[in-house]
Symmetry: D3
């Protein structure tokens, strides 16, 4: 099994609902350093998993719709706790849509899985992995 | 599959028995930077894998029983090489006990696996993963 | 010259005023991983710069007054752009006050400088250094 | 499941063929920080996955045949795009050969898998995992 | 004293002349993760050292003239060992020219120093610092 | 001003005397990831600060006399608290002796300063800087 990982980041504001979140129920924010990992069984005709340049651009485009925003005001997240793990799923699903739409190239249709990891600090992170 | 990872560290002394360990047969020590990863299939009602704050506290409590000690003198490790990989298992098992005892909350009973990674330097680490 | 550095983090929301900030004029947020460095010419009677445990606690206390907040709503920052570099100064000044008030112990009165670095992502950071 | 990871690096020149590579079709180079991860189900009689010292030496030996070279001139890579993911496979396969040849010791014959990750920058990496 | 640091990278091929370089006399390559640090005594009217976005763009432009190249073929480096420390000076000087030319904005004319650090692996780096 | 930094590590046991150290008065241990930084005003005839390969070897030799030991039993440290900052000084002084003895080559006699940083965990480090 082969995989390629690219990294970018986003900086957002949000708040959480639920006693479990303690002081994080207040409006605060986070930098998420985001790793997107693409996997497949065999390399393509160019001997790669996916073009690292294109994967970087696609990840940047997906994060560009989230960064520098207050997620509490985004209709897409209405009534939802935008936890680190939930945001990992959102980003993975949006990347998967782009793979299926051909944005990563025809070779990328052989990708088998995407994993997205969000590092919210030097001591905490969350991941979501899904098939393609 | 979702996961959350929290990080802490411990600083211990120990020695190893066996020719394979070379100079590490002498009493020496290590800082272990410890990552504990908790996994589950679906998020809970709060949209999380596990409360990061509580997971951080539980990891800190488990490491608190090991740090600032000479493991050669600890009855729990009598006659055992406290290798990096063996300590990863000890920590994962103790965290699993706490999950089963309810210390991570009722939602955490849906956790499916724990992985513990100990980084002993910038060039070496070891992990142990187990189901829950 | 000796120095000791301790690390912690905070997660805040804020917005900026000024065309130079582009999309960061919108309400967004950041995780700041904060390094506080304390310097002195000679070590104290215990052979240390400052107690790492106490420095960690004092940094945590200073960050505790900022984390999980929207800085736009904090009276202390009224009318001020809470840029990474400006926050580094705020934290350094608050730590300096605590040093002068004796919170780091009598030995810490020999400290000569504090530097605070805030890492806002894997690709950007800012620092402020001041004498004591 | 237990694993041990050791890290080293290599510094090579190469070029790629194929429009997908854009400016990387020119002769350029890379530092690859290489992580080799060895896995097994149970620890050996010494309570380890594999001797970290020996694994470090074997990884260093494998990388020693690649580093400080122009891979375009190496017969082993004739007509092949030496992408990050393809080099991960080469290194994993050479390590696997050494495991099977007994270079890691008799206990290492119980290893079940090798994963090799090459970090080509602070924002991109690739991995290959194979059974043993 | 305040400072801001931005990070990017470049991937180049080169070789060295001189016995001291051993195997690095062969054509090989490197990824340099590059940190550029800009310093000044007081913050500007926007409460910043320099616009992080603009500094990031300018660093990217300077590295864009070096990356994906064989430095042995670049006229600018004819007869010169392009060591890590020498490249740090080249990049710092080119950034200084851009500051003086106004590319960082008028406020940046108050910058007092630039430091450039090139990390060539996880175990080696070099820096050059100069006044402005 | 130019500088070059090389990294290695050591793993030691020790204990501290003094109430300020709390639980660290017990025998425990640490991994120190050690950065040694060498500075000079102008590059040498080979266009370098110091040969990175030789600096790496010399740092490894100095750490080789400390690693895998209980520092409480070392005559060199009798009656001394081997704090992180004190060990930084020991290592810097031993490297300085080697520079003066010519172990880094004749060009290295132009070095002006050494700084040694010991990272004891992901959240704490200490440094010592001295002229040459």
């Amino acid at each position: 099994m082969f995989s390629v990982t690219v990294r970018d980041h986003m900086m957002i504001a949000h708040s959480f609902r639920g006693d479990v979140f303690g002081p994080a129920q207040r409006l605060h924010g986070a930098t998420y350093v985001v790793d997107a990992t693409f996997s497949r069984v065999e390399l393509d005709a160019d001997n790669i998993v996916v073009d690292i340049g294109r994967a970087t651009e696609e990840l940047h485009a997906v994060l560009g719709e989230l960064t520098y925003r207050n997620l509490d005001d985004e209709p897409a997240f209405s009534g939802m706790n935008t936890s680190t793990e939930a945001l990992a799923e959102v980003i993975a699903d949006r990347l998967a849509e782009q793979v299926h739409a051909g944005a990563f190239g025809d070779g990328a249709l052989e990708l088998t899985a995407i994993m997205v990891t969000l590092r919210e600090s030097h001591v905490a992170s969350a991941s979501y992995e899904r098939p393609l």
